[in-house]
Amino acid sequence: MTRLSADGRHPVRFKLNGRPVEAEAEPRMLLSDFLRQQIGATGTHVGCEHGVCGACTVIVDGMLTRSCLTLAAQVDGCEIQTVEGLAPSPDRLGILQQAFRRNHALQCGFCTAGILMSLDHYLRRHPAPSEADIRDLLSGHLCRCTGYTPIVKAALEAAAELATTTQEKSDA
């Protein structure tokens, strides 16, 4: 049994975007705060801290996760993906990110990280989504700037492009 005492700081280790990271956290520290304040991965944003807005969504062991509803201590030993891990290289955007830029699917960009994580997770598992699928998925995110339709369009475009890319790869 692992018991972490309330007033102590305890080491938390996990893989972030494929790389091991480690820092200390009190048991009550949220994963969102841990990522941002202890690891310095500030791309994941905090918008409501009650699980509604979706800005803080990350992937933990293959599961979409509201990092504001998760303790840092809970993810010890897990694999975590965040927006910082989406681009293939620092100077290049991934297909989904490019589709967002092309379609003006972001304005202030504050909610964007969470939306990208949901879409990245979903499109990997559902290569040919309908518009209704995308709208259902994204109903778990709040965006105040765009009116959503450019986001839906970007997602559908990215899905189509990803399908072509996968096709090409398997042909090759």
């Binding site: 309330a6 801290e49 509803l69 201590a73 809970q74 259902d136 778990g140």
Partner: protein, 270 residues
């Protein structure tokens, strides 16, 4: 909006969980998917001294079907049950209702048993449990017991679980006949204003309603003619003791119970 301080235990066996609960009682909380509890911790509505994380316990992460009864362990997430290939065959009502539970991003973490433990009057899983007449499997350090759905929900967020008990699993009987589900909420994924589930029974139909009374409630009726059904629905609608809030009026809730209830009853009896 940060939680108050608490100790955290990552349980490595069910005994550790039970030990923790028996020692700390009401000061301890079981942390499963966390989709209700964590928000309450962040808002400091809940301030337990100890959180016991059960999600690393493989023995709780099981879905089993036996003799027409599906048993779902405390570690089973909503998304996992929704993805279970046997769901539509064994528990079609849950296949209908689960997509209404929160959003993709919360179902991926939230558990079936956690939703029952939380006992929100608008939640879909307690409604399904009442509609199907399932059982909640409780366990403390000394014994196990099962509580029928009709006796488990005592009121708003209040259940028959004792402070030292863990909800180990929940079991749902597979219904013999048809079922139907419908929910009205302000937006997709919101708490139900009214959620109705109807299940065919050997003698007729059972209608369960969530979101109106303090707990989900069910009524069993034989096959009724149109006016008798309307009277029964009207009586049920009033018995639910609906109230006003910022999202809906009591009258609106009663109307939906009457209209949707009639639609669903007809649907399962066809």
């Amino acid at each position: 909006m940060k939680p108050a301080a608490f100790d955290y235990v990552r349980a490595e066996s069910v005994n550790e969980v039970l030990e923790g609960l028996s020692k700390e009682g009401g000061n301890a909380r079981v942390l499963a998917g966390g989709q209700s509890l964590m928000a309450m911790l962040n808002m400091r509505l809940a301030k337990p001294r100890l959180l016991i994380d059960i999600m690393r316990l493989k023995e709780l992460n099981r879905i089993e079907e036996q003799a027409g009864v599906v048993t779902i362990g405390a570690g089973v997430r909503q998304a996992a049950l929704l993805a279970w290939p046997e769901l539509a065959r064994t528990l079609p009502l849950l296949a209908l209702a689960l997509p209404w539970v929160g959003h993709v991003q919360t179902r991926s973490r939230g558990t079936i048993c956690g939703s029952l433990a939380h006992a929100d009057p608008s939640a879909e899983m307690p409604l399904a449990l009442i509609a199907l007449g399932g059982e909640v499997h409780l366990r403390n350090a000394r014994r196990r017991r099962r509580v029928a759905a009709s006796e488990f929900f005592l009121g708003m967020m209040a259940t028959a679980r004792a402070e030292d008990e863990l909800i180990e699993a929940v079991s749902f009987p597979s219904p013999g006949g048809g079922c139907a589900f419908r929910e009205v909420a302000r937006r997709h994924g919101d708490f139900a204003i009214v959620a109705c589930a109807a299940v065919a029974t050997p003698k007729g139909v059972r209608l369960a309603v969530g979101g109106v009374a303090d707990v989900p409630m069910a009524r069993d009726w034989p096959r009724l003619d149109r006016s008798a059904l309307d009277d029964a629905l009207n009586g049920f609608a009033y018995e639910l003791n609906a109230r006003d809030d910022v999202h809906a009026t009591a009258r609106y809730r009663r109307d939906l119970v009457r209209i949707i209830g009639r639609d669903l009853v007809r649907e399962v009896l066809q």
